[in-house]
Structures are given as C-alpha cells and as structure tokens.
C-alpha cells in the first residue's frame, strides 16, 4: 500500500537547522521526491526535488539514501518566516497508472 509519512509537527528556534523526514516505502523506481512549503491561504510553493543522494539549492538541501525509502528535507538556519507547513510528494506505481501521493504535511513552528 502506497503511503507517504511525515511528522505532524515540529518546533524550532531561529538560527537552528531543521530536518524533516518523509517515509515512502513503495516509491516508483524512476520518479523524483519533491518538497513543498505552504503558508496559510496560499498555494504550495516548490522548494526542492531530488532522485538520489544529495541535492542543494539556495533554500534547502534534500538527502535521499540509496534505498530511496525515505528522504530528509534540511532547512539551514531557519527564521520566523520559515513557519509553514511542509509537504513531501512522491510518485507510486498503481497497476498501469502512476499516482502522486502527498504526505499529510509537517507544521513547522519557528520560535524567536
């Protein structure tokens, strides 16, 4: 059964590094893992995407182990403006179809 699992909530303080892990046991072989950030009353915003090992951009890093059954979004030195909900999005093979499954989201609260 395809499932994308992530912690419901996390708390942090300004300046700390935050790591959010998503579990996706049955990920499709050739698909990417994608992370989004969402603020209240706005659409999700793309953060980062990766297939394996490590990907880094100006906002975050994404770590993916060799078995690809999980991924970890790393936000360096968070600020108050990083308070948001973070979703992982993973593709699974469902018979002849390809299905995108969203995690339930991790609500990150960054405190002063």
């Amino acid at each position: 059964l395809a499932k994308t699992t992530q912690p419901i909530s996390m708390d942090s303080y300004e300046g700390q590094e935050v790591n959010i892990t998503c579990s996706h046991n049955n990920i499709a072989t050739n698909d990417y893992i994608t992370w989004y950030q969402q603020f209240p009353s706005q659409g999700p915003r793309f953060i980062i995407q990766g297939y394996k090992t490590k990907v880094t951009n100006e906002v975050a890093s994404l770590f993916i182990p060799a078995d690809r059954k999980s991924s970890t979004l790393s936000l360096p030195r968070v600020s108050l403006s990083d308070t948001a909900v973070y979703y992982c999005l993973v593709a699974y093979n469902a018979g002849n179809n390809r299905k995108l499954i969203w995690g339930l989201g991790t609500s990150l609260a960054v405190n002063p």
Binding site: F46, W102, G105
Partner: protein, 113 residues
C-alpha cells in the same frame, strides 16, 4: 513569468448558484491541475489536463465541471454545490504530467452556504 493566476480569490455561493473558477498560466506548461484542499489537509487531486485534454478525473462529482479552453487557461464550473464542498481550490501547472515540479496559484477560498 512563473505565475499561476487564479480568480476570484474568495467566493461565497448558495447551493443553487452557478459559478466558475478561473486559472491562467503563461509558462508554456502542458499539464494543468485542479486540487481541493481542506484545512490542515494536503491538496487532493481532482482533475488533470494534459495537452488540453482531460486525462485524469479522480471520481469527482458532476457538480464540478472542468474546462480547458486553451493551453493557458483552465476553468472549473460549479453548480449545485453542497456545504461540504467549501474548501480552498488550487490550480497548478507543470511542464508535463510526468513532472512533479508543480506551480500553484494562490487558490480560491470557496464557501458554500
């Protein structure tokens, strides 16, 4: 231009009303999506258009009717909605349906009375 524009931002409608949600993108994306999102839940896929043709309908009730007039526009026609249909309706686009890098609009917050 990397924006997906949705109108209106807010909509209140009665159960007998007919209304339409509009979405526009000028990124040359060939896949466009409608999602429904309830509070504290992830987005829930409703429809996917690929090259202006409906490719996925996630068993959405017929009171929701999508339309893709051209490669830049996507509409969602609403008729005889129920109060439980109140939600944030999000439009998104991507290069194609095999690309999970989705660009979302800000959504339409819909209230059905």
């Amino acid at each position: 231009d990397t924006e997906v524009t949705q109108t209106p931002k807010h909509l209140v409608m009665g159960m007998t009303n007919k209304k339409s949600l509009k979405c526009e993108q000028h990124m040359g994306h060939r896949a466009m999506y409608w999602y429904k999102q309830k509070a504290k839940k992830p987005p829930e896929l409703m429809f996917v258009y690929s090259y202006e043709k409906l490719s996925i309908n996630e068993s959405v009730p017929s009171r929701f009717s999508p339309e893709c007039p051209n490669s830049s526009l996507l509409n969602l026609h609403l008729h005889a909605l129920q109060p439980e249909d109140s939600a944030l309706y999000l439009c998104a686009s991507s290069l194609d349906t095999f690309n999970e890098k989705l660009f979302f609009g800000s959504g339409t917050q819909l209230s059905v009375l």
